[in-house]
């Protein structure tokens, strides 16, 4: 092109102009939202029957069979299609649902459940003791491609049908977590007839007894469920004990977060989940929308320090990390005040959480430097510490894609630890499963788990069985093991709480981990949507939900 050189300044100008137009376009849009009045209309009308709720999900489920589903997003839908034997209330107590009552034998090994006799699955078949036995046996059957359900049902051994509506469940060892675990969506009760009929296709042809029935699953587009008109066995968390008010719920799958929030703001959907921090503020300030948010229970997002690697097997080295990493500023700057900082291996909503740990660990660079000096690591010319000719490096592995800005946490910690002379090598990889669990190739790796019972600490902190998967930190301590074993079986709740407080102190005092943040499940919704409830595990429930004009 002959005129190319002469016009290159034009090109530059044009690109700059386009960028300016685009950027000012964006910022004026957000200003507008910020200026609207923060007042929210509080509806106190009677529930309205009918209507369709459109609800945008961030990811797609893989299976709607509770036992083979391994994803939290799957549970959000599964919870509407299936019921459980028992329900956990937000205060941690366990109440009847499909099981009217139950007794536990003195040795804690036998649970006898009396079941409701008026429950029918969506295919018309009755729910009974045989169905419970079929479900629990299905979960431990190696032929079922089970996912999380297998770990959750442990230490289940067998079931015996006593009569039509009585079932006896045997455990291999006592477990105080068992009832809370069977309250989770992943152990929902499926229709035995349908499960046998569909086989592996049950994942896309789900049949349960829940308040909503499955209609269709249009892959990557939407999953539609409709009101179960026969429903009359809701648990006590729902005000409405009968069939739900909504005719239909369409779960749209919208992975791109800007599109997901955009589709709520444009009115194309009524609600969207997992609101990014920058949008949380603007949704809160907009009178046409509401923001629902609940912290999840179980294990918060926690960095595990691998003690199978030198020098992190030494307490002082780990304490140096604990004092040098400024978690408060990380959480504030990345999540703009919308996420809570974690202080313990347990999330605050979980039974046994020890609030006295809060604000316990403080950033103290002098302490951190002092500890590393004591260990003989001295700063070299480049500011990185050395000992016996070896540089002090820390291999920080994190998974891709960048879920909840976890990769950014790694980048900030890399900068923070530079100040005490630790060279952090950040390794963001898709293949984290192999790197962490197969090759043990990391010094720090972060993980979290939504769970109902403090016994969720057991697989993460108890010394691994010889054939089992090693723990992330590789720490093994008889005292901690004993506490976790006692916690699993202690029947007196006050004593149990005391045990878990000791566990949490042990973990923090020995600097096994750096807790980072508690993940809140968030929903941005139009003000037309009333009474979406978030349950004990922060999953949305729609029994009481209705739409106003």
């Amino acid at each position: 092109m002959k005129t190319g050189r002469k016009l290159s300044w034009w090109k530059f100008g044009a690109v700059t102009l386009a960028a300016i137009i685009a950027l000012t376009g964006c910022s004026s849009a957000s200003n507008k939202e910020g200026n609207t009045s923060p007042a929210k209309a509080e509806e106190t009308k009677a529930p309205v029957q009918g209507g369709e709720l459109t609800y945008a999900l961030a990811t797609s489920p893989v299976s709607l069979d509770p036992h083979t589903n391994g994803l939290a997003v799957g549970v959000r839908i599964i919870n509407n299609l299936y019921d459980n034997l028992v329900v956990q209330l937000p205060d941690g107590s366990v109440k009847p649902w499909l099981a009217k009552e139950w007794t536990i034998s003195e040795d804690g090994l036998t649970y006898t459940f009396k079941l409701r006799d008026d429950v029918k699955f969506h295919d018309g078949t009755p729910f009974n003791a045989e169905a419970v036995k079929f479900n629990f046996d299905r979960v431990i059957d190696p032929a079922t491609k089970v996912s999380n359900a297998f770990a959750l049902i442990q230490p289940y051994q067998s079931s015996k049908v006593i009569d039509e509506y009585t079932v006896e469940v045997k455990l291999a060892s006592p477990s105080q977590a068992f009832l809370r675990n069977i309250s989770q969506g992943t152990l929902g009760i499926v229709s035995p007839t349908a499960a046998k009929q569909y086989g592996e296709q049950f994942a896309t042809h789900p049949v349960g007894s829940g308040p909503f029935k499955f209609v269709k699953w249009d892959e990557n587009s939407e999953i539609v469920i409709e009101r179960n008109p026969d429903y009359k066995w809701a648990n006590e968390t729902a005000v409405n004990q009968g069939a739900p008010y909504l005719d239909k719920i369409s779960f749209k799958i919208v992975p791109e977060e800007a599109t997901r929030i955009g589709s709520v703001q444009s009115g194309q959907v009524l609600a969207a989940e997992t609101v990014p921090p920058q949008n949380i503020v603007s949704i809160k300030n907009d009178s046409k929308f509401q923001l629902l948010s609940t912290n999840t229970g179980g294990l918060p997002y926690t960095l595990f320090i691998n003690q199978r690697k030198q020098p992190w097997n030494e307490l002082k080295a780990r304490q140096a990390l604990q004092s040098a990493i400024d978690v408060t500023s990380i959480v504030k700057s990345l999540y703009l005040g919308t996420y809570d900082q974690a202080w313990s291996p347990l999330a605050p909503v979980t039974l046994g959480y020890d609030a006295s740990l809060e604000n316990g660990v403080k950033k103290d660079l002098d302490k951190a430097n002092g500890l590393l000096d004591e260990l003989g690591w001295t700063k070299g010319a480049d500011g990185i510490r050395e000992k016996d000719g070896k540089k002090l490096t820390l291999h920080y592995v994190d998974a891709s894609p960048n879920r909840e800005k976890r990769n950014d946490i790694a980048a900030i910690i890399q900068q923070q630890l530079k100040e005490i002379g630790v060279d952090v090598k950040v390794d963001i990889t898709k293949d984290y499963v192999n790197q962490i669990f197969v090759n043990d190739d990391y010094d720090i790796y972060g993980n979290s788990q939504v769970n109902a019972d403090p016994n969720s600490l057991y697989p993460f902190y108890h010394t691994a069985a010889p054939t089992g998967r090693p723990t992330l930190h590789g720490y093994s301590n008889a005292e901690l093991d004993k506490l976790l074993e006692d916690g699993a079986v202690e029947k007196d709740e006050a004593k149990r709480v005391e045990i878990y407080k000791q566990v949490q102190h042990h973990v923090i005092d020995n600097a096994l981990i750096i807790p980072i943040y508690v993940f809140p499940y968030t929903i941005a919704a139009s003000n037309r949507v009333q009474q979406i409830k978030l349950d004990a595990l922060a999953y949305p429930r729609f029994n009481d939900t209705y739409l106003t004009k």
């Binding site: 005129t3 386009a18 800007a258």
Partner: protein
């Protein structure tokens, strides 16, 4: 003519088989294990992983699995998804129309915008209209689609409320995605048409036509454009391929159904049968389009017709 079509189909088949082999090898060399993707890594024991690998057939050697896959393919069996046991062929047949619609619509937008702006830009060389056309072309080429797509959503869905932000039902939902993608193709075509148009304008036969007293309009649209379009048409084959590849990003941004999203998810999960199936279908479309483009030369350009 007939012979050359036969040769083209024959080589196309070889290309198809080659594509399948390459994908099979890449998917096997890539790190990651479908069995581990299906289990919760924090909770599964080596025993559970081994059991899952066996159920998925991953414990057999790679060449055995490929041979089996290929034989099944010859029988029209594309296998089942490893993730949820869904049969692959019906899945692709179901999702392909949406991707095809997006590809066709964005290719059409690319061609129409590209040719119109390219011609205007050449005729009004260095005038404001030329600069504007080239600015649009530059924007199309250089802006990443996930960014320009979100910008369109902010303007036309959130602010103006004219178009749906996501979904794949109805014509309205096709407008923004195909515009986002079409602008990329248009950017390439504008530059191509402009350059070849300028080359033709400077050729001696145009000077001859001018000296014969033909109107400038007739010269440009009847003689110059026809000659300038030949290189542009070659490019259309490539643009369709580009648009097809672009659907991977666009379908995610606008949350549309389609095989672009299916293959993206399948690659993440290392769901080999699904990846293979989508690659097979995309390759077939690409090959057919390029075959049609080659054949269309002979209708547009008499020189090609005479040569064959």
């Amino acid at each position: 003519m007939g012979k050359s079509v036969f040769v083209r189909i024959y080589t196309s088949l070889l290309v198809l088989i080659g594509a399948l082999i390459v994908v099979f090898i890449i998917m096997n060399v890539l790190p990651g294990d479908p069995a581990l993707m299906m289990l919760d890594p924090a909770e599964s024991t080596p025993e559970m992983i081994a059991n899952m690998r066996h159920q998925l057939g991953l414990d057999r050697p790679f060449y055995v699995r490929f041979a089996e896959y290929f034989v099944n393919l010859l029988h029209g069996d594309f296998g089942n998804s490893m993730l949820n046991s869904d049969p692959v062929l019906p899945k692709i047949i179901k999702h392909f129309p949406a991707t095809l619609a997006l590809t066709a619509m964005s290719s059409a937008i690319a061609v129409v915008i590209g040719i119109v702006l390219g011609v205007l830009s050449a005729i009004h060389r260095n005038k404001p209209i030329d600069l504007l056309a080239r600015l649009i072309g530059l924007f199309g080429i250089s802006m990443p689609t996930f960014w320009s797509g979100i910008l369109l959503i902010l303007i036309f869905s959130v602010q103006l409320g004219w178009l749906p932000a996501m979904g794949s039902s109805g014509f309205k939902s096709l407008i923004m995605p195909s515009l986002t993608l079409g602008l990329v193709g248009a950017g390439f075509i504008v530059r191509m048409v402009r350059t070849s148009m300028l080359d033709v304008i400077n050729e001696s036969f145009i000077v001859t036509l001018r000296s014969k007293g033909l109107s400038e309009r007739a010269i440009m649209y009847q003689h110059a454009l026809r000659n300038a379009l030949i290189p542009a048409i070659t490019m259309i084959g490539m643009i369709v391929g580009e648009m097809l590849a672009g659907t991977v990003v666009i379908e995610t941004v606008f949350s549309r159904q389609g095989i672009g999203r299916i293959i993206a998810d399948a690659i993440m999960a290392k769901d080999l049968p699904v990846v293979q199936g989508v690659v097979f279908f995309s390759a077939v479309v690409y090959i057919i389009v390029n075959l049609l483009v080659d054949l269309s030369y002979s209708f547009i350009d008499p020189r090609v017709r005479r040569a064959s």
